[in-house]
């Protein structure tokens, strides 16, 4: 019964929230920017969790795990579906390189900063340290397209820079998921010698097998409701199966998404159904993240502060100084890198993937650091993006 109460609150707020997030035109600009991407739902989750109202004791949170797996699977699949070979082929290789390298650059810098802080302030063994660092770096490396998209729609501003920003924010999540997937595999204790190859090929084989299974389902013969059943059932199954095989559910579902993006016809009803799940899934993930949040200690706060600073600095520096060297034709307005501040639910999902596979105090702390970073970045992102747009207009 407690689980039902939990579901009541999450779904009700999720529902009201999704209406609110996407229709708050009436608020004054400064206030609207403050709650632009809906990060306040993390706060609502925290308020309902063990640190405030305690509406969600631990046993309820544990029963909500299928919801977490559904979210992980959905994000992985969604990202994978964007990787259609034909579309990717149309991108300039230089743009692709900028996207990848800025992500890797940011991730590496964050890893370098996180490593000593984790070693010094957290009780962490040497086997877990690389995993924790990989998770923090992967979550920091990516950026969310929501703020850029919403602000460009609101201001009606269309420019080459927006297209580039959208491309970067849409694709750099892939790098993070790849890092998480490969990192999870390489850091497994049995990963040595030839077995590494087997372990790396495992998610690829399972992903393709599940993708083929999904491909086999005659989508056009299913009603809209049945398509929804297939998607929910499939995401739960693939995420659960991935976890059972010690493969990152995010990575596995991205592989499935890539398989499907390149095999399903363009007009397949499945695409519309998965897009329809976007808003509810987004809000539910934010609330769950708030619920799973634990109050960070000094070390965690320091780590969060370091990551926020280094991340933003890295993105700013890369776009201003390195990107023009990769492609001299790229003419970014000043400070464009700051427009990549938003992390969105994707970063939380990377943390959730870690928490789901390694439940324990360390994972909770790491997750809370990610939550703090996401909240801070979501607060500042709209102001920074708006500033970059103004500069671009000039």
């Amino acid at each position: 019964m407690l689980a039902i109460l939990g579901l009541v609150i999450i779904i009700t707020i999720g529902w009201l929230g999704s209406i609110y997030i996407f229709s708050k035109e009436k608020l004054p600009t400064s206030l609207r920017y403050l709650f632009f991407s809906g990060w306040e739902f993390i706060l609502i989750g925290i308020a309902m969790g063990p640190y405030a109202l305690d509406l969600f004791p631990l046993e309820i949170i544990l029963q909500l795990d299928p919801l977490v797996h559904l979210g992980l699977g959905w994000v992985g699949l969604f990202i994978g579906l964007q990787l259609k070979w034909k579309d990717l082929n149309r991108l300039h290789p230089e743009h692709f390189l900028v996207t990848t390298l800025q992500s890797v650059f940011t991730g590496l810098l964050v890893a370098m900063v996180s490593w000593p802080i984790l070693e010094h302030f957290f009780q962490i063994n040497e086997n877990t340290l690389p995993i924790a660092v990989t998770i923090l770096a992967a979550s920091a490396a990516l950026s969310s397209p929501t703020v850029v998209f919403l602000l460009s729609r609101e201001t009606g501003f269309k420019d080459e820079v927006i297209r580039l920003l959208q491309m970067i924010t849409n694709l750099d999540g892939v790098i993070s998921i790849l890092a998480v997937g490969i990192g999870f595999t390489l850091l497994r204790p049995e990963a040595a010698g030839i077995k590494v190859l087997i372990l790396i090929s495992q998610p690829l084989i399972v992903g393709c097998a599940l993708g083929y299974l999904f491909y086999l389902i005659p989508h056009k013969k299913l009603s809209e409701n049945e398509t929804l059943v297939v998607i929910i059932g499939f995401l739960l199954f693939s995420s659960g199966a991935g976890g059972m095989l010690q493969v990152s559910p995010l990575f596995l579902n991205m592989i499935i998404g890539i398989f499907l993006a390149n095999s399903l016809p363009k007009n397949d009803p499945f695409y519309a159904a998965i897009i329809n799940l976007e808003k509810p899934m987004y809000v539910v993930l934010l609330i769950i993240s708030g619920l799973l949040f634990t109050v960070p200690g000094k070390g965690a706060l320091l780590l969060a502060f370091a990551i926020i600073t280094v991340r933003l600095g890295a993105k700013f520096f890369f776009i201003s100084n390195i990107a023009p060297r990769i492609d001299p034709h790229l003419k970014f307005p000043p400070k464009t890198g700051l427009a990549l501040a938003s992390q969105g639910a994707m970063a939380l999902v990377v943390g959730l993937a870690f928490l789901s596979s390694n439940p324990g105090t360390l994972a909770k702390n790491i997750f809370s650091v990610i939550v703090v970073c996401v909240m801070a970045n979501e607060i500042i992102a709209p102001y920074l993006v708006s500033h970059v747009f103004k500069k671009a207009k000039q």
Binding site: M1, A3, I4, L5, L7, V8, I11, T12, G14, W15, S18, I19, F22, S23, L62, Q63, D65, P66, H69, L70, A209, L210, Y212, L213, L216, I217, P218, K221, E224, N225, E226, L228, V229, V230, I232, G233, F234, L235, L236, F237, S238, S239, G240, A241, G243, M244, L245, N276, L277, K279, P280, V283, S356
Partner: protein, 433 residues
């Protein structure tokens, strides 16, 4: 064919998973998610396969649970089914909301006399027929289920009451699948919903009566029990009306995020009913009924419900299939077949008699009874109470009830679907006309 192929591949993947990852604890959330996902997909595929043969989709869902569940190839255990039980609360609320939305005020006004007549007729004839038959069977000592004497009488009375229960969830699912509308579907749905309230009240009354007569532990008198049920019923209807009115007020202003809205409404209703100790089924039926009939665009609400509830329905019936106790059936099948046959005969007699008295058209006279054959949730719930309240002889009776539910739940939806098709009440047929 493609669905069958997808089902086979899915099964092979699931079997390989459970084979290779045998060390994973069964209570792992990962395993729960995998089982949940597997059941949703496999049920849908099997539903499609049996649908090709003209059988109801829910028969496929039920078979899926039976086939892969603890009584079949054991891909998952009884414990896993219990762990997924929280879905049943949500599913019940959604089923009740859908049932309420299917009840059209105009039709009910027209059919009211008939609904009352059928309810009374069924409760009298089925109860009398089943109780009498089983009283003689128990007294004769055949099957050795309960001891002879007074207990045989009590057990026969309980069987009689439980035999009058129906399965509104199965009725809603079949009507939804066929998009059926017409006098048979409306009457069956209305009677199933309304009668279940009386069945629960009668059952509570009978249990109190038997406990007091047999010298068992009686905490409240039969009259008090009856009073409590009446007040619970009225309060549930009132709460349902209030929530329904609030939903209408909300829907007049907002029309966004249908999926979350429907799920949210179901869980809110479920939680409120639990918190206030109300009848969840009745309260949700009232909500659905009020919104469908008093909101200008009530049809849109009905469609939202259909969309939001499909995933939950699939898993609900699949879990119901996994919960059907096939061991009980194997143990008690001869008695179960008699119970089933007597119930079927009395359902037919009690319904057809009213249809004949009301001068219904031949089609209705012939097919109306079929909708009252499925039995599931309510009967299972009542059976659990029997085991709790009458230790010693209640357990044997419960095995018989469970075994009969297996037959009723498999045969009932099939009969009902074919009857609706025969009456021409399926939406497809109507559309073609």
């Amino acid at each position: 064919m493609k669905h069958l192929l997808a089902l086979i591949i899915l099964y092979l993947i699931m079997a390989s998973l459970t084979f290779f990852v045998g060390s994973l604890p069964a209570d792992s959330p990962l395993f729960t998610s995998t089982v949940l996902g597997f059941l949703m997909l496999a049920s849908l595929f099997l539903g499609k396969v049996v649908g090709k043969a003209g059988l109801p989709l829910i028969t496929g869902y039920l078979f899926c649970g039976m086939l892969f569940g603890p009584w079949g190839i054991e891909l998952f255990s009884t414990e896993d089914v219990k762990r997924l039980g929280f879905i049943n609360h949500l599913a019940l609320a959604l089923i009740a909301l859908s049932a309420g939305a299917e009840l059209k005020l105009g039709s009910i006004k027209k059919l009211l006399k008939k609904i009352i007549a059928i309810s009374v007729s069924q409760m009298t004839i089925i109860f009398a027929g089943v109780s009498t038959t089983f009283y003689f069977i128990f007294q004769s000592g055949r099957f050795d289920i309960v001891p002879q004497g007074d207990i045989a009488l009590y057990a026969a009375i309980i069987l009689g009451v439980i035999a009058t229960a129906n399965s509104p969830s199965s009725v809603v699912a079949i009507i939804g699948e066929l998009k059926a509308h017409g006098p048979v579907s409306q009457t069956v749905l209305s009677v199933s919903v309304i009668k279940d309230v009386f069945v629960i009240a009668l059952f509570a009354f009978v249990v109190s009566f038997i406990l007091s007569s047999s010298g068992g532990l009686v905490t409240v008198s039969a009259v008090e029990t009856f009073g409590a049920i009446i007040s619970e019923t009225l309060l549930s209807m009132l709460a349902g009306t209030v929530i329904g009115t609030l939903v209408i007020a909300y829907l007049k202003r907002f029309r966004k995020e249908q999926l979350l809205f429907i799920l949210g409404l179901a869980v809110v209703c479920s939680a409120i009913s639990a918190f206030l100790h109300l009848n969840e089924l009745l309260m949700c039926i009232m909500v659905g009924f009020i919104v469908r009939n008093f909101l200008e665009e009530g049809i849109a609400f009905e469609k939202w419900l259909e969309k939001g509830s499909t995933p939950i329905f699939v898993i609900f019936f699949s879990l119901a299939g996994a919960s059907l106790d096939l061991n009980a059936f194997m143990e008690m099948w001869p008695a179960a077949i008699i119970y089933f046959a007597v119930r079927l005969a009395t359902v037919w007699a009690s319904t057809s008699a009213v249809a004949a008295l009301c001068n219904e058209p031949e089609k209705i006279k012939k097919h109306l009874w079929s909708g009252f054959t499925p039995q599931a949730g309510v009967s299972l719930g009542l059976a659990t109470i029997v085991a709790e309240q009458f230790p010693g002889w209640g357990e044997g009776l419960v095995i018989l009830i469970m075994a009969t539910i297996v037959i009723n739940q498999i045969v009932g939806p099939i009969i009902f679907k074919f009857s609706l098709l025969a009456c021409g009440e399926d939406g497809k047929d109507d559309y073609n006309k």
